[in-house]
Symmetry: C2
Subunit: 254 residues, 2 copies
Amino acid sequence: MVAFRQGGNAVPNSFCVHAMLDQSTVSNRLLAHLSRDDFALLAPCLTPLDLYRDYVLAIPNTPIGDVYFIESGMVSVVAEKADGRSIEVGIYGRDGFGPGTVLLGSEQTPHHHYMQIGGTGFKLSTKDFLQVTGKSAPLRTVMMRFIHVFMTQTAQSALVNGSSVIEERLARWVLMCRDRLETDEFPITHDFLSMMLGVRRSSVTDAIHLLEGDALIKATRGNIRILDRVRLERAAGASYGVPEAEFRRLIGPL
Amino acid sequence: MVAFRQGGNAVPNSFCVHAMLDQSTVSNRLLAHLSRDDFALLAPCLTPLDLYRDYVLAIPNTPIGDVYFIESGMVSVVAEKADGRSIEVGIYGRDGFGPGTVLLGSEQTPHHHYMQIGGTGFKLSTKDFLQVTGKSAPLRTVMMRFIHVFMTQTAQSALVNGSSVIEERLARWVLMCRDRLETDEFPITHDFLSMMLGVRRSSVTDAIHLLEGDALIKATRGNIRILDRVRLERAAGASYGVPEAEFRRLIGPL
DNA sequence: TACAGTTGGTCCGGTACCGCACACAGGCCC
DNA sequence: GGGCCTGTGTGCGGTACCGGACCAACTGTA
């Protein structure tokens, strides 16, 4: 779980919970890259919580009450068509926060945000988040830059959905997941992947077999393990890398 | 062209060009929806210019010198893969400005921005833009909200690229184009459309024939005319409408 | 140990779209 | 007029992926 030191007594007041958090122990990249002062501004508002699988961070077209910083696990951002078909337009984990739209002047998002892979994180109320970001321009800039990176990721999804075969898109997804989880192995079913990629479940099975055939990954029931990261990147081809490079350029190492 | 009154002499100084512009005559929706004061802040920095077809507003991964507000015509935002394949991730016209990334703390964008259909607009230097948006929170909010809408559009592109047939996607594109041009007829070739949609040129021809067969559009050499807007929306199905609704909710009527 | 629920492997016919190629038509310049 | 470029119509074989179904294998609970 998360490092968490109480300063005095952790009583919520009208504005923030006075919980003292040690910046050197957080694994969220945005929080870690904040200046000491900016972190001190934000930390008292953060409430650590367990983000179990399927935990809902945001419901489409519904006021966003809380903003989340992820420490571990992974969030899927999913767009849904009126006819019921849906597809993942982006993911974030310890590299970011969400839903970012609150910083763009929209108290709603048209997308689902939910934990695809369980983990932990912090939450703070939208109100507190806007108040704190309103106080510090550098802090706001870090958050904005993440939004830019996330937008790039969404654009990349649009690109590969329209121009890459499933095998490549799967390789991309696995790599993106790895980047955010720090592990080579994570729980995921073919069924979920089929929703993420917007394809048929058995097409995912086929694509997994292709990657397994090249000894890039090893799939077991409800689980995928990466065997050869470098060659997996090669398999993803031009699908993978653009938003990741933007992250490093603007924020820092993943 | 664009209504343009000079106040005194239009000499550039170190900060802004002092050109007086009448808010009631601009057709850009963002500029039109600004408060009188915010408009007065921005207007002196705006230089009107002709945005001819293929005019480049932004080159990928290159510092953005100028920001543009579109008065007429249409911009394509295109993502390109390392293997050369590219696809449109969004469009904007008199509904917006670009490249929005400068407001998100990135002086670059990974995407191409260029005039797909020629028109007119205003430009101002990135420096001026940031200075002005730094002065007024309400003005910044309007710009941010447009970025949110554009992000929604990109996400919608990801969704339909992965889950809709070409005919539907073409119908969506034509409708989006119409929304931004105020005309039912506009110049576009099958070849360009094939790049936008990320499909084969002859697949576009086929899709056009399908829509023509239902008397929804009429295509002539290098030109498309909308015959029945309502039924065209029906043909686009669930592909069309989400970002448009966000625009109306957050900014105002198109 | 039996059962139920979940997950994965596989097979079917069907089709949307691909890559490529070639012919033809509209509009322009000499 | 003749030549030329750009844009459009069309055809052919190939394939990636679809929708749907069924069964086998694994896993948790009784």
